[in-house]
């Protein structure tokens, strides 16, 4: 009897091993040595010899244009929107802050501009494709491990991002041939560092994700699934999947990234019907990411009306409130967002703050679910009479701490207005929390929401109170 079972058991093990191998392979970074394709790297034109079409696709992407179609922004009005032509409540706008050295009183470089995180060599992206623009694409910043670059000023006074190995052709040749699909480390260099410090901006994109354990992120754990960012976000033709909740432009307007969209998780996702009843109305992240900023603190409040001077760095900044181990706030979201756009009157929320990025949807909206958010607050200048928000030319401010000239400069640059009068206004921005999924044992339990000290603000969510206590009629959908 035992002997009869043995082949079956071995077969099961063999199939399991096969699946395991297949799954592991799927998560590995696609590496391709380019040693056979070129000898000397001579800038982007070396890549274009074989990848002209890829470069053309990339030219039109969000990562290069920093704007794109914005069908998810309810007040976009068919305009292309993005980082380049809107503003935010962190460093406000690339306008006037694109590229250049800012030095402190000690002569040290304290900023090189927003283009430090643009996948280009320094030129502003244009809407019209040209040879110059294609050669401005910096392929290596996302595709070559070990590639590092710095800002240099040429004899004409123009600024350019170049490999730090530009004087060492042998070293540059070596690095430029280490080509792969983007790794977590490559993505995190910009997506974690943005906003002025590690994890300052997003809150759920921490450097720790480069090499996390399973308790920090079940998907990206190095000893577990080891999923790279592109496993979920990799689209076609250099178009990235997913826009979170507060990005203006979408790279893939006809596709939505959800936990079950890549056939990773079934829908409904649980065996327990009570949990499945919840997942019909609640996004997975609500229960499975109970906290964010678990390794490094994140910026929760940035007050530009109160300059702060760091003697250590000899640099000015806004007054920033950092927080670690933050419990998200929760709100309904139907996939659409209302944005505060330049040159439009301030969109005042019921609490009197200006809504920079506000998720749309209510309890009665059948397309809406409850999502987890980082609620970022700020204080920004508001143009008198017009009620338009004004960005700040932060690059000037970082060095001298003078906020008024930095606001006047931005008002001139964006609105062509001089000597403007302004007041300071509080702003609110909702930023979706999607990374740092913890093991199911750490997920929220019933009483975390429905207990007497539950984390949900039921009234704000459209309930009279805790539904478990009140037993309301079922939601219509």
């Amino acid at each position: 009897m035992k002997n009869n079972r043995l082949p079956a058991i071995l077969l099961i093990f063999a199939i399991a091993a096969l699946f395991n191998v297949t799954e592991s392979s799927a998560q590995e970074v696609t590496k391709k040595s380019h040693g056979d394709y070129f000898e000397h790297y001579e800038g982007t034109k070396t890549c274009l010899q074989c990848h002209e079409k890829d470069a053309e696709n990339f030219f039109h992407s969000q990562h290069y244009q920093w704007k794109g179609e914005a069908p998810k922004i309810v007040n976009a009005g068919n305009r292309k929107l993005g980082k380049l032509n809107t503003f935010n409540d962190f460093c406000t706008s690339p306008t006037g802050n694109w590229i250049g050295f800012v030095k402190n009183s000690r002569g040290e470089i304290i900023s090189r501009g927003c283009s430090a995180c643009h996948a280009g060599n320094g030129l502003l992206p244009s809407e019209t494709m040209s040879r110059q623009q294609l050669e401005n694409i910096d392929c290596l910043i996302c595709h070559a491990s070990g590639y590092r670059r710095d800002l240099y000023q040429n004899e004409k006074g123009d600024f350019e991002w170049k490999p730090i190995l530009w004087k060492n052709q042998e070293g540059l040749n070596s690095v430029s041939k280490r080509i792969s699909s983007p790794t977590r480390v490559m993505c995190l260099r910009c997506h974690s560092a943005s906003g002025g410090g590690a994890n300052y901006k997003r809150g759920d994109l921490e450097y720790k994700l480069a090499n996390p354990d399973r308790s920090f992120d079940v998907h990206m754990a190095s000893e577990g699934k080891n999923m790279q960012c592109v496993a979920c976000h990799g689209g076609e033709n250099h178009r990235v999947l997913g826009r979170g909740t507060d990005l203006s432009g979408s790279d893939t307007v006809d596709k939505t990234l959800t936990c079950d969209s890549a056939a990773c998780h079934s829908s409904p996702p649980h065996k327990n019907p009570v949990l499945n009843k919840h997942s019909a109305n609640i996004n997975c992240t609500v229960c499975h990411i109970p906290k964010f900023a678990r390794d490094e603190p994140t910026d929760m409040m940035r007050d530009w009306s109160k300059p702060f001077y760091s003697a250590e760095a000899d640099k000015y900044s806004a007054t920033i409130a950092l927080q670690k181990d933050v419990t998200p706030v929760y709100a309904w979201f139907n996939g659409l967002t209302k944005a505060q756009l330049p040159g439009e009157p301030a969109n005042l929320l019921p609490d009197g703050t200006v809504g920079i990025m506000i998720p749309q949807g209510t309890r009665d909206d059948p397309k809406a679910k409850i999502y987890a958010f980082k609620l970022h607050q700020a204080k920004l200048p508001l143009l008198a009479e017009k009620n338009w928000l004004i960005p700040i030319t932060v690059e000037h401010f970082f060095a001298n701490g003078q906020i008024d000239p930095a606001i006047q400069s931005a008002a001139k640059e964006l609105y062509n207005l001089t000597s403007v009068k302004y007041t300071w206004v509080a702003t609110t921005r909702y930023m979706g929390i999607f990374h740092g999924v913890q093991p199911k044992a750490q997920a929220l339990k019933c009483m975390d929401c429905h207990g007497p000290k539950g984390i949900m603000d039921w009234k704000t969510l459209g309930y009279k109170g805790n539904p478990m206590a009140l037993k309301p009629p079922p939601r219509k959908n």
């Binding site: 070990g146 590092r148 190995l165 070293g171 070596s174």
Partner: protein, 120 residues
């Protein structure tokens, strides 16, 4: 008897803390030394516009630094005099110090996670 045990426990804790502290200083010291040793002994002759060539840790890749220390370092520096010490560089630096400088260069090479000039 209890007092004797207590005294022995205190002695063990004391010795343990010394060991931990010493290891901490040693590890941290090596880390600091790499940068300091580079500044004191290498930068002098390899600053910007130097006739000997400008070199900082991020001038080369990690593989290039390893190959340099393995194949070229001694030959290139055999006649170098450290003016400060009035000695030949290779007679002044110990093998351990050269290893520490090499580690600093490799750890902060152009293709490392933290490229550095030694002025940072």
């Amino acid at each position: 008897m209890k007092i004797a045990k207590l005294i022995i426990s205190i002695i063990w804790i004391f010795l343990g803390s010394i060991l931990i502290t010493t290891q901490g200083v040693s590890a941290g010291g090596d880390k600091e030394n790499g940068k300091d040793l580079y500044k004191q002994n290498c930068r002098l002759c390899h600053e910007k516009d130097s006739p000997n060539g400008e070199f900082t840790p991020m001038s080369l890749t990690q593989d290039q630094w390893k190959a340099f220390f393995k194949n070229k370092f001694e030959a290139k520096h055999k006649d170098v005099i450290l003016e400060r010490e009035k000695k030949k560089l290779l007679e002044f630096l110990t093998t351990k110090q050269i290893e520490i400088i090499q580690k600093y260069c490799v750890d902060h090479a152009a293709d490392s996670e933290q490229p550095q000039t030694c002025s940072e």
